[in-house]
């Protein structure tokens, strides 16, 4: 067997954690692996997952956004109020919510780049401000119940079995094609993600179809992930963003408009956060004062970190969000199934976060100069 490098070990830690969690949960309660529960698990993680994608993007440029939870709540609140109280059509209401997110992200980034305040503080102030703004938007009742059929449909729709299989077929076909291309070009290490995607897709559809079918929300989430992945790895914007995260002054000297990258990524992240908020609202059928609470932010940041996005910036992929959200979600779902209290869930999440990031840090220690690159909040 080939020796496994420590860096490789660090990358393997999160998936390993996921496998262990699934094994343990199944051994304790076999219902964990039932189609119904797995479908519920996926529905539970899409909102956190979308917000975690936002966190990953911001981490990639070496910044932090503590306001993702509050912004997701605010955007969802705007959408809900416009739809319910102002009778706007669902599409327009959603666009207005997403625009709110974009504006908030631009505002944060403007203060970070123009005034020079650390993103940690700007978004901490944002967290407070937008939490208050959400309460103002919701008005005195504090809760807005969604009644628009289209808004409700986002999380309540399940694709027909045939459509599900079609999606699986497309993914598998794409995976096979990609494997062939990579093998011909002699890039065997690029093959594994595609092999994984090609095998997981049919299995997942099989499981979903055994219950209610592939949930639309899950498809939306996967499209977000795939889109985000393509943008970050294949476009100039994405590559410049990663360069900025690895070494901002190096990136600037190489001619990258670092400030513009920051503006774009912050705006994009806030839009993603709002997307998560709308997904959550559609699932809960309501937006209330606890929508987008600090808990959501903490879970999303934890998910991003567990998934392997480096808090030092410049390392991590959009898929970290999926992996991290799966780990956190499986823990919560499994513990709920066991009837454990929320106390145990919090402790377990904390322990997994510490373990995952601890392992990751040890694995990547060789890459960093000791003591010169200690993370400073907001950098």
């Amino acid at each position: 067997m080939a020796p496994v490098s420590t860096a490789r070990l660090g990358r393997l830690a999160p998936p390993l954690a996921l496998v262990v969690i699934w094994l343990v949960m199944t051994l304790i309660n076999p219902r964990f692996l039932s189609a119904v529960n797995l479908t519920n698990l996926m529905l539970q993680i899409v909102a956190v997952g979308a917000v975690a994608v936002a966190v990953v993007l911001v981490l990639l440029i070496g910044e932090i956004d503590l306001s993702v939870g509050a912004v997701s709540g605010l955007g969802a609140g705007v959408t809900a109020v416009l739809s319910v109280k102002q009778d706007w059509p669902a599409v327009l209401a959603i666009i207005a919510g997403l625009l709110t997110g974009a504006l908030v992200g631009l505002l944060h980034a403007t203060i970070v780049t123009r005034v020079g305040v650390a993103s940690f503080v700007v978004t901490l102030a944002g967290l407070l401000t937008w939490q208050g703004a959400l309460q103002l938007v919701l008005g005195e009742t504090g809760t807005v119940n969604l009644d628009d059929p289209q808004l409700v449909a986002i999380a309540g729709t399940f694709l027909s079995p045939a459509l599900g299989w079609l999606i699986a077929a497309v993914i598998t076909a794409a995976a096979v094609a990609a494997v062939v291309v990579h093998l011909r070009a002699d890039r065997p290490r690029r093959v594994w993600p595609w092999v994984l995607a090609g095998t997981v897709a049919p299995v997942a559809v099989l499981v979903f179809n055994a219950d209610r079918g592939v949930p639309l929300a899950v498809v939306v989430f996967l499209l977000l992930l795939a889109g985000g992945d393509v943008v970050m790895r294949r476009t100039t914007l994405g590559r410049h963003a990663v360069a900025t995260g690895s070494n901002a002054s190096g990136a600037r000297r190489a001619g990258i408009a670092v400030d513009r990258i920051r503006m774009t990524v912050f705006a994009l992240a806030s839009v993603l956060a709002v997307t998560g908020g709308i997904l959550a609202a559609s699932r809960l059928l309501a937006v209330n004062q606890s929508s987008g609470s600090t808990d959501l932010m903490l879970t999303a940041v934890a998910a991003a970190a567990i998934g392997g996005a480096s808090l030092f910036g410049g390392r991590g992929t959009v898929w970290s969000a999926l992996l991290g959200a799966l780990v956190v979600g499986s823990l919560a779902n499994g513990l709920d199934l066991l009837g454990a209290s929320s106390a145990i869930r919090l402790i377990a999440t904390g322990v997994v976060l510490a373990l995952a990031v601890g392992l990751d840090t040890v694995a990547h220690r060789a890459e960093r100069q000791p003591f010169t690159e200690h993370s400073r909040p907001g950098r």
């Binding site: 309460q135 103002l136 903490l298 919090l346 003591f371």
Partner: protein
Amino acid sequence: MSTTRTAPTDETAARADLIDERLAQDTGLRGAADAFRRRVRDGDLGLLPVVVGLFVIGLVFYLQDVTYLSSSNLVNITLNAVPYGIIAVGVVLVLLLGEIDLSVGSISGLAGSITAVLVVQQGQPLVLGLLAGAGTGAVIGIAYGLIFTKIGVPSFVITLAGLLGFVGLQYVVLGDTGTINLPRTSPLAQFAREDFLSPAVSYVAVVVVVVAYALVSIIGIRRRTAAGLPAQSLTLVLGKSAIMLAGLGFLTYYLNIDRGWGFAVVFFVALVVVLDLVLRKTTWGRHLYAVGGNVEAARRSGINVNWIYISAFSLTGLLAATGGLMFLARLTSVSQASGSNDVNLTAIAAAVIGGVSLFGGRGSAYSALLGVLVLTAINSGLNRIGVDSSVRYIVTGAVLLLAVSIDAIARRARASSGRG
């Protein structure tokens, strides 16, 4: 110490000494005024914006409601500020290092719960309960410090994990009841709610503090003069002392119209003063600033960087736990909501508003005192006007942003004047 130094004999030596602004002390009243102007121009605003902010807050709310500045409301503000303030002092310590502790709220809640369970449910002696609660905080801090220095996980993540984990642990400690009430007759509750300095004692205390300040300053002048360094003038020291005496005396008189200085408030202020002295005058404190300013430089000049980190984190944990005990004492109960995210955000915001740089190496213990006064004053005012919590959140966020923006702009001025 001064005996080993030879006094400079000619004028040039004294002037050379003035080149380094940390050694320079302008002589005379005009010199002091000049130095102040120069500092502000170069972007070293210090505590000035916060003090101005406090005046503005007082004025705005006074115009809305004249009872805002009444003696009883001011006493309430001081009492409410104590628990947040003690936690904020701890946050200042980690921020000085350029690190962060996101879990101070959870630690405070956990410590309060442990003490409440031991004292109320299990009938242990109060002292034991307090020691257990505070000790928990210190041990958590040591653990953070060890993980941070030995493994190298960013403090942001360790304390985020801690935040989650310790909230959970708090639920476990509290058990099924979820809420534990501390009897109001308990000495702990008395300390934070009912015990106040008697008028006579408070005036004596004011005089003692001012005399001590004057004496220490005069000794400082003697030592600097003996070492041939320029010192501040005696008139200035006496003037400052007189202003201090008048200010503190009036404040004491005004608070005494109602209940006066609470024991808890005195405890908090004493804590801030002691910590300020420790930070500025001891080796440990100066090393802390050095590590916060530049870790690598500090390490190469032989400072035991790991020890500084571990001790600072543990002190932060200890202070957060102490703040939690103060919450328990002030609210006479602890529940699952104790030490919630609100506490976290308020304590961190207070430290930052008070003027601690998030980039490490700058700020003082007094930042926590002033920052928490700003936030508590705003809170009290908004509650009196009767606005709902949404406006409170927005105002707090805006004030936080304003404070850091001023700091960031001032930092640029500092950088351009070569004092980055």
